[in-house]
Symmetry: C2
Subunit: 502 residues, 2 copies
């Protein structure tokens, strides 16, 4: 180990321990803590968060990072850790601690203001808080750009936090391609959508039976219950302490068969990434997925490219029918495959289908760009939002709860985060195209054999953690950097084939 | 707030936050963490434990405690916090940190060595580790006595850690009384025990039904699910983050009706104590039960004095029968009450009945006294143990797993802890006698009305946390300090009445 890097390890250990505690508190809060607990527990969480801040942002760490920046003999792991720590440092240090704390308090309160406004269907109740959050964000961007003597554009800085190297230039191109290639498919599909009868999906599927089926499904795709936990929460998510403790949740609705199924497969995709991180990286800042987009690439690959394919359901469909004999007696595999791939432009992102999903993201991307680059009037965001939905998806929200108030992200200060969802879709398609070349993928799926898929993903993507960037991984694996054409081609092929005989 | 005390608050907040994280990790480990997680998670836990140690044991806290020791205007809360912190300080500071860490590592490993020895039924596999633990304990006692210039006897120091003011002098008297008063009752009961047929208890009680019944039972005695969680673990326990987050576990055996029922009532007794701590104390070192014995006093009161009474089961027995119509069809309330109060000297403490329980503790107390006061040969402890069981309970363990290896406590270094279980029994009986005077207790129980009981316990015991000692609480409430005669009288009355007509 590099001797200067070695001096950093006590700080890393402490940061890891504090972060683990924070992860566990969040997991507990979402899945188990009693109703009345949160206010008092928040005191402990706040103290631990401050401890974490001070463990990363202090004169000793600053000095070590400076020394390490000129070290030439760091190995890949050390380099990745230093890079990640430097990134955290650069994004937090320029912000006065007092303002940072005030901002944290604001976002902590904001989520309940957002949920009340959503319940009241009234954006104007949330707008003043959103304005405050955005003002802080703009101020923080300013501090960071000045400290880094950077000429980066404000929104590019935010985008870079989530997906390095994907700035507005790349994303404008990306969304332009999507618009050009996806909109015609949507028009073709929208005309025919009523030919697919999906009523079966809303029959009765008892939650107790769903629990068993979904646990089996997670296991089927490779989720290792010796290293993982599966539970319930209102919004499904994945979290982890290290590569031997990875946790997912799902949510059950007894009148929606698909909802839990695809969220289970989706979260399992995230979980497998974290379970496959190399042992020498786990528990360090480099020991997790390399980026939001690559993470979403894994979950979307499992959920959509694999999980909505015929081959995937060949070994499972009879089990599904056996689980719910009454509700699925009249449905065959072909009907089910059409059902889970039915596309229909809609208002809600999290309920949208594979084909229209990225357009929901495009709306958010364009609105965020207007906020940070064009000083958009925050009070008018609801109208802007609605117009864009009309333009891209042909549907108009009649209520704010179905429009601008649908997502929690902005209440938590997450700007620049949404595009990684769309990037994830494109990354998934690129990996999927490659897997089809690299192995007899459909044969494996038809046999219910996920081992070769997981071995391959582990070997070429997962185990590296943050020691490789998204593009390094894609290049080394497929011989090509990020390329959205696989995504649009995949959608075109898929929907043309599916709708051919309708 | 006293201005010097105010300077202590950042340390208290940090210690509280770290301790909360450690509590949550332990809860998670016992109830949810995946099988393969523990080794890696232990790294984070160890780091947080060291942080906790350094938050309490440092020059700043030492100085503040010294200054506070001469402050005269501290209020009850401040006094209790300073006292508790001073106690933690005095017990940890004299021990060199290196030895403390090595000892922590030893006890962490010891539990698996203990469980392997228990599985192999071979005390000699555990004895060397136990010897090491005891040697550390003796060394630590030595450090502490020297630092405090104390002439206390070694075992008294340990006893005092768990129950202030109850040294060997008090406990020798206490156990003498028990021996004298309880042994004759046991002889009377043992002769008649075969007249109670308890076969019904081992019929089939499906776990899913038990879960519902036990949840209802916890609610019945006052457990507030808005402030609490109930889950499963191998060994039932209670833990809490603060007074709005109190958690209990139970363990289900489909061929043992009683097992989960009485552990649920027992843990609910512990939980109610913590739920009723005053709001201005919770989250501070004074914001929990005042002592082990008083805590056990609450759990035993609920489990035995209340939970095994006829009045308790009047409003519940029909519900119990309705829950398990097949297995309880031929059992009436009188039979059930005899069943749950059947006494029969046995080998295992945790499975023992109310009457013989304290004799199990007496054996452990005498063995611990021999270890710390008479330098007993650790290799011979198994034989000593077995002889004492023969003498007091009339049964001899044929295997170490049913003898000296049955409890995990010593593997964790908990010496001096066991007597608080017996003290708890006596405290429970003293409170029970008082409650019968203070209110129409049986009327309330027969109506299933626990509110007056809980209100009374909250008002006179629970809310004070550590601002009153065990004896202060007993004195203020009953006009008398700890007095074991209530316990022996209670047992005598109860068993004479129960066995009168057999």
């Amino acid at each position: 180990m590099n001797p200067i890097f070695e001096k950093l390890t006590p700080w890393l250990d402490k940061a890891y321990a504090l972060n683990s505690a924070l992860v566990l508190f969040e997991w507990d809060n979402e899945t188990e803590a009693p109703e009345d607990a949160s206010e008092l527990t928040a005191r402990a969480i706040e103290t631990l968060s401050n401890e974490y801040y001070e463990t990363i942002i202090n004169a000793d760490v600053k000095k070590l990072l400076k020394q390490l920046s000129s070290e030439t003999d760091l190995d890949a792991k050390e380099k990745a850790i230093v890079k990640d720590l430097q990134k955290q440092y650069d994004s937090m240090e320029p912000i006065p601690q007092k303002e940072y704390k005030a901002y944290q308090g604001l976002t902590a309160r904001a989520s309940s203001i957002w949920s009340r406004a959503k319940a009241a269907d009234d954006y104007s109740q949330f707008a003043p808080t959103l304005k405050e959050i955005i003002n802080y964000q703009k101020k923080f961007i300013d501090y960071r750009l000045k400290a880094g003597k950077s000429k980066m554009k404000p929104y590019d800085l935010l985008l870079n936090d989530y997906e390095e190297g994907f700035t507005m230039k790349e994303l404008d191109d990306f969304f332009e391609t999507l618009k050009k290639d996806i909109l015609p498919i949507i028009h073709m599909v929208t005309e025919k959508k009523d030919k697919i009868n999906k009523d079966y999906n809303y029959r009765l599927y008892p939650v107790a039976l769903q629990k068993d089926f979904n646990r089996m499904l997670a296991e089927h795709v490779g989720f290792n219950f010796k290293r993982g936990v599966m539970k319930e929460s209102v919004h499904p998510f994945t979290t982890n302490l290290h590569n031997r403790d990875v946790r997912i949740t799902t949510a059950y609705d007894e009148h929606n068969l698909e909802s839990a199924i695809f969220s289970t497969i989706h979260e399992s995709g995230h979980a497998l990434y974290e379970m496959h991180i190399a042992d020498d990286l786990t528990g360090t800042p480099a020991g997790c997925g390399t980026s939001m987009g690559m993470h979403e690439g894994q979950s979307r690959l499992f959920e959509n490219n694999l999980g909505r394919s015929t081959a995937f359901w060949v070994p499972l469909f009879q089990k599904l029918k056996d689980t719910y004999p009454d509700s699925l007696s009249d449905i065959d595999l072909d009907h089910f495959i059409l059902g889970i791939n039915k596309s229909s432009p809609s208002l809600i992102r999290t309920e949208s289908d594979e084909l229209t999903y990225s357009l929901h993201i495009m709306v958010r991307y364009e609105v965020e760009k207007m906020i940070f680059e064009e000083n958009a009037d925050i009070d008018k965001l609801s109208e802007i939002w609605n117009k864009k939905y009309e333009e891209y998806l042909g549907v108009t929200p009649e209520k704010d709860s179905k429009g601008i108030l649908q997502d929690i992200h902005w209440a938590g200060g997450s700007f620049g985060y949404f595009p990684s969802y769309a990037l994830g879709n494109a990354i998934a398609a690129q990996i999927y195209a490659h897997l089809k070349e690299a192995m007899p993928l459909d044969d494996y799926l038809e046999k219910g054999n996920f081992q070769p898929v997981n071995d391959y993903l582990k070997e070429h993507i997962h185990r590296f953690g943050k020691t490789k960037t998204t593009n390094e991984i894609l290049n080394d694996m497929t011989g090509e950097s990020f390329n959205p054409k696989y995504y649009t081609e995949y959608l075109k092929d898929k929907y043309e084939t599916l709708y051919k005989n309708l």
